[in-house]
Symmetry: C2
Subunit: 491 residues, 2 copies
């Protein structure tokens, strides 16, 4: 099996011998890397950020050649990727991520048995395998969020390169490895592998202790099943699929119909619709004029998609959806099924969605979206209830809309709920949550974006009755690192 | 299939119709219960605690009849169980469990894209299925830690009763249900089911959103596989098995050999050795006199075990372990294989453990333990490295022992590491961690004991761009509940 890059260059899949070497190095590096002080790991992350920015031009050019994404978008994405590394550096210097808890001995603890001196911190889980995504060649790939959070947590990382951008992956890996070494991380802290077989073999290997994944539902589920079938199952953090419904209330359609229509078109066509948070459905009130506004919307020109496999999948799904007996074409560009697919808007009615939710709510990854007309505000709650787990759900409303119940139902369906904004553009922040009930995520309690992403690659350990000098520094009474500590239940 | 209680009474397994009714009620109760203010849920937990204590005598008598555990131990366990409910009430009133994070809008956020106003809280996952354990008929059963933490998180709970104490389970469920209703919880917030088939059917049901389990490795793994094979996999929090090795350094053996021997015997024979944290192995220095002290130890009399199935499993495992060619009997009571098995201590040497770790390190649930002689302190690290995931690992040492490396390796193997104490008696506290790498736990990042256990049954949701009046109260700027909030990355 050989991976062919669009640049014409080929990259060989990782051989079993190479894989063994990479796994052994990661295993070897786990102890020394995990024992670095958080502030020393922060310097490693900073060095990676600096190196990515230093090589920005070359990396962006490689990415543009392999992914058909524009230079401007890629430059911004690289900046975000470097920022993310540095933000995890800040997380490490702050120390809150350790969730340190100290219980002093308490002979009067009212449980009936005395409370021993118990101190809990978090330690790295061990080498992490990251399956990178095609649609964010920087932010969800070799040096992306999974890698940043797993390294921050103190784990060696092995990335399975996405076949969509192998040259960029190899070059980025070089940059990361050099930066790690220059900042004092042990060799083996980062490795890159190519090929489906190597990825699956690595996932089965006892030295891999957790995995991250961003991609399709079938691909993610297959890998999750491998992780769960190991003699020792490991956590599998997969971000799979989402259709990101948007609900426009009658009041909002009346007040801001035109700007909502424009915002929607910009959001679902951005990056040729190749975002996991692309709004795939828009619910609009019948007779509100929204349909007409959308029919007259100026759709952008078609753009080449990430790669042929993505385009073929898109065309197949689009053909199925657009030929559904209850789905009409609302507006389309010149060539929605071409090699540079023009955006296309489809339309249906709420009754049809209630009849066939699984067919009409399935994700169609690419520049399309489905507009659904509904008759009455009261239909939105039952419509919302038909959805499977989502990364996002959005309401466009006015402040006096009676939408409390809709907000509640959507919060049960999605990891992030938005008000009068668009789901594309996932900010890397402290409060961000990028996840949601299955199939949005295989681990709904965790996020793959934002500072909490580090939690996935840590594990608590409690130390009972230890003398100070044998405790990890963050658990010591003098708290030399100055980390936040919960003491006897109080922060 | 009929469950026969040792009292002679029978309890029928839950029929499919009954199960459907219980699942539907739990599903129905999820919304109203999840929307209660945390302080109102705290009152429900307090009411359960009060009710358990009010009916203490009757419950303890039932438990004693069904489990062969003594009244004193059971009275203490019930007290601990009531305490645990109230402690989760405190957790709810404190609000730290929501891990509220508020990012204010920041147009200068250095990621390259502006940061929107984003506010994250945690919501209940939905109805939780709890498989209760046999060895703690209160603390890990109907009203035990999984139930307390799942209710605290705002979820309805369905408990699959353990066949070892069906009458007690039914009676405890009555107490819990009445207390819930009296404190204003919706009907359906608690249900009890009997029988293996009902348990497995419930685990497959789409209305169940997470499961907790305490029990054996094969039983837990089988249930985990069911949870992972659902069309929508759900989190399965299983606490499976552990052998809890204890390492005695030469200095400790010399300084406190007699008290260590006595502490060990008390710990491994407590409750007829039927604790998941029973010390199943003790590593002692050759020639330190520890073996002689143990050989002369006064073992307590045999005691009836929890039930016949447990005893049969114990006898089978003990026969296998004691007939291993490299294992000798060190000391035993009158009748180690009887219906009230006398405690029995076995012995081997470290070289044999290094040769056959899986055979000699397997858990043997009951009143036995394996003493391992080692020659040199330097052997302890390689011995520690042979272990699979453990709930606990213990060192008995003196303050000047060079054991840093041993502490490090054991923290990679276990969820709780102890110094000069014994692992039995798991305190319910803020810093407690009862879990560990597989097979100690199926979810090593979580604990089933201590206040963090609530995290298992919550899921974060981020709200982006919302007006104040549509936000959950804990996310509002005025913070009417007074919960701790991380604001712009600072607590």
């Amino acid at each position: 099996m050989t991976t062919v890059a669009p640049t014409g260059q080929t990259l060989s899949p990782t051989t079993p011998d190479e894989l063994e070497r990479i796994l052994a190095s990661a295993h070897e590096a786990a102890g020394p890397f995990g024992r670095l002080l958080p502030s020393d790991r922060a310097r490693v992350l900073d060095a990676i950020a600096d190196a990515l920015e230093a090589d920005s031009e070359e990396l962006v050019a490689l990415a543009a050649a392999e992914t058909n994404l524009g230079t401007e978008r890629l430059t911004g994405e690289l900046k975000r990727t470097a920022f993310q590394m540095r933000l995890f550096g800040d997380v490490l210097r702050d120390g809150d991520f350790l969730d340190v808890r100290i219980d002093h001995e308490d002979l009067t603890w009212p449980s009936g048995v005395p409370r021993p001196d118990t101190r809990r911190t978090k330690i790295p889980v061990g080498p992490v395998l990251v399956f990178s995504a095609s649609n964010f060649p920087f932010a969800f790939s070799v040096a992306g969020g999974d890698t940043a959070s797993a390294l921050a947590a103190g784990n060696p990382v092995i990335v399975k390169a996405h076949s969509g951008h192998p040259q960029l992956s190899a070059r980025t890996a070089d940059v990361v490895i050099q930066a790690c070494l220059s900042a004092g991380a042990p060799a083996g802290v980062f490795g890159l592998i190519h090929g489906t077989q190597a990825g699956s073999d690595a996932l089965k290997d006892y030295r891999i202790k957790a995995a991250g994944f961003t991609g399709s539902i079938p691909g993610g589920r297959a890998l999750m099943n491998i992780a769960m079938s190991r003699p020792d199952p490991i956590p599998f953090y997969g971000e799979l699929g989402s259709n990101n419904p948007v609900f426009v209330t009658p009041a909002a359609a009346e007040a801001r119909g035109q700007s909502i229509a424009e915002g929607y078109v910009a959001s679902f066509t951005m990056g040729a619709g190749q975002f996991c948070v692309k709004p795939g459905m828009l619910f609009v009130p019948t007779g509100s004029g929204m349909l007409e506004k959308l029919r007259n919307a100026a759709l952008p020109a078609g753009a080449r998609m990430l790669n042929d496999r993505i385009r073929e999948g898109y065309v197949e799904n689009l053909q199925r959806l657009s030929s559904h007996p209850n789905v009409d074409v609302l507006v389309q560009g010149l060539a929605p099924f071409s090699t540079s697919p023009s955006p296309i808007l489809l339309a249906t009615k709420s009754a049809h969605v209630l009849e066939s939710p699984r067919e009409l709510e399935a994700e169609c990854f690419g520049p399309t979206s489905l507009v659904v007309e509904y008759d009455d505000l009261s239909q939105l709650v039952p419509l919302a209830e038909t959805f499977e787990g989502q990364l996002t759900a959005t309401i466009h409303g006015e402040d006096d809309c009676p939408v409390q119940e809709l907000v509640r139902v959507l919060s049960e369906k999605a990891g992030r709920v938005l008000w009068n904004q668009w789901p594309t553009g996932v900010a890397v922040t402290y409060a961000q949550h990028h996840g949601g009930p299955y199939p949005a995520s295989t681990a709904a309690a965790t996020t793959s974006v934002g500072t909490s992403a580090i939690d996935r690659f840590l594990r608590p350990v409690a130390y009972q009755g230890f003398p100070q000098h044998l405790l990890p520094v963050e658990l010591q009474e003098e708290n030399p690192l100055g980390v936040p500590q919960m003491i006897n239940g109080r922060r």
